[in-house]
Symmetry: C2
Subunit: 410 residues, 2 copies
Amino acid sequence: MALIVTKFGGTSVADVARIENAADKVLRETKAGHKVVVVVSAMSGMTNQLIGYCEAISNIYDLREYDAVVSSGEQITAGLMALALQKRGVMARSWLGWQIPFRTDNTHGRARIEGIETAELHKRLDEGEVAVVPGFQGVTSRNRISTLGRGGSDTSAVALAAALKADRCDIYTDVNGVYTADPRIVPQARKLNKISYEEMMEMASLGAKVLQTRSVEISMRHGVALQVLSSFDDHIGSDLPGTLVVNEEEIMEQEVVSGIAHSRDEAKITLLRVKDQPGVAAQVFTPMAEAAINVDMIVQNIAADGQTTDMTFTVGKADLARALETLEKAAIECAEIRCDSNVAKVSVVGIGMKSHSGVANKMFSALAAKGINIQVISTSEIKVSVLIQEEYVELAVRALHAAYGLADVA
Amino acid sequence: MALIVTKFGGTSVADVARIENAADKVLRETKAGHKVVVVVSAMSGMTNQLIGYCEAISNIYDLREYDAVVSSGEQITAGLMALALQKRGVMARSWLGWQIPFRTDNTHGRARIEGIETAELHKRLDEGEVAVVPGFQGVTSRNRISTLGRGGSDTSAVALAAALKADRCDIYTDVNGVYTADPRIVPQARKLNKISYEEMMEMASLGAKVLQTRSVEISMRHGVALQVLSSFDDHIGSDLPGTLVVNEEEIMEQEVVSGIAHSRDEAKITLLRVKDQPGVAAQVFTPMAEAAINVDMIVQNIAADGQTTDMTFTVGKADLARALETLEKAAIECAEIRCDSNVAKVSVVGIGMKSHSGVANKMFSALAAKGINIQVISTSEIKVSVLIQEEYVELAVRALHAAYGLADVA
């Protein structure tokens, strides 16, 4: 008998039929003797509709009112899920952010969780009741509804699991787990039964959109066993059909490389012949930070002439125009600013890299063998990322998947 | 400088453009120096959509969860209205039922208001802030969202006006006031500048669907000056362009008859030859009351044979089938049960009737002159209602409107 937090994303509760399907899974968990807390997203499309209303009124809106509007999407699903569970004979009750309360700071639109009161929830769970909690929402110290930012329902689920000391947090979504690569690109891609938090975080931030990075971070910090699984097959979470995200130590046979991630959401900016002197990097990146533009890979070559150097970095495609404007305003001394949005990032991720050498070299060789030019390289303890021309991205992912033998491993 | 509660119904906030239009009216009231509390309905169609979701899951739903779902419609409009006001430079803040708090009993789905805390609202109003309150919703002592039943937003507005001791409660709707008769039937129908609470209650309960009966009742009890006006013309409430519902004494020139109301939502049931003895009426109407079927007009003839009598009464069309079932189960001793749903009720309403005779007689003569047969008659101090065949309803309303000279009065 375990305490499980199960979260259903937008496509898993897209309409009444899917809500009923999700309720069936919860019923099976309760029949297996488990205590269940259900976290729900808004029905898919609803959040965008609500944001659309706000934006139709004004582009610069008061985030307190924005939060009151958009949080209602999850409120609706929570009530409907409780009704669907009751219809199945499961005692169920919805608990809105302010009813729990699920406390956050006052940063409306992207609030940080401060604490979750669990006494009443534990009492109800002990009595056999299922608690249905709308994701994405909380309440501030000023008694205002707050939201956690897009994708915040994963974060809600994980934070609840941590607060309740749940045995597992199941994230039901439209894929049945985390794969060694995107199966739409690599048909031989293999579902991973387990992956470490660190790897999952790299995968998530590198473009594998299965889980929100922040939710993985919270899971890791609080040691919440996280499972990614599909709501569109016959399994329930307790069958462990998905991918478990756990501590490194819990993975018996750690592969050197766990997966190949890729992201097309990259744009490259190069400043030609900037002065090679202290403070230049700060001149470039301080205004970027102030404009809240996320800078990813950064490379700076050694000055060939001893005076100037070329500096290259990447930003999200959506931020490119704003980044160029920001650079213009900052009036950096350089010969020219070039940009290229036809680039993609491909990454090899694996916690085993920490203790293995030659991983990066194998990557560069595999890409070279296919004639793929590497534009920028960036590494961390557990990943190697390269920036390449966008049109080569599928070729690169398949080449690397084969090079590391990811399809063959049992 | 007055304190005004302005309520916008579903068609007045049907989409973003109409919310903006409503916000313009509020802006004008604030510019005129008034303090304003705005009560909003859900965007038209939204409540039905949300109820549809609930009913798609189950016909017998938990009203606590139903309330959590359907109350979100008003929550959305409240946030959007606050945003629209802020865009116009008006300080505005939404106040959900639980934030005020707007306290109700635990009768979910049709909760009764128990009390509204106004200290914080008054403070904000004094500071020049406009409070936007979602209609229809409250919060119970168990910290659950409650709803006041269909049309409950009028009730919310009036109760808030009473609690805040507001100078006026403006109900913006899609008609510009209360008419001497339905203008779709009587083109010469005249808008009333003032009408008494008692008359308005009769008109409302007799089928003139401008205001909810319960909201008029609360207004009368607390002496809230109520105005019905249109949100689709250029006026604002302070221009007093609509119909004011006030105390009898405030109406200087009281007409004998104020208007002609009609209702097609009637069905007639006749029990032939029931025993003419004490207790028979109780045998018939106790089970009706237990089944929550509203019985309206009741007539019972004198027993011609000294033994049995015919008993006739009316119920709402939607309740007819259930009423017949209930009678069947009650096994009333009678020769036959007949029913007819092709009937309509036409009523003459006027507070002046209290002190004038001959009003009913004029009604019967006017109907007779058109060859309209009267099936049932029911009277109160300020109204005379008759049941007629449904197909004569327009003819009857026009004949009565002319007979009482309602179009001519200045």
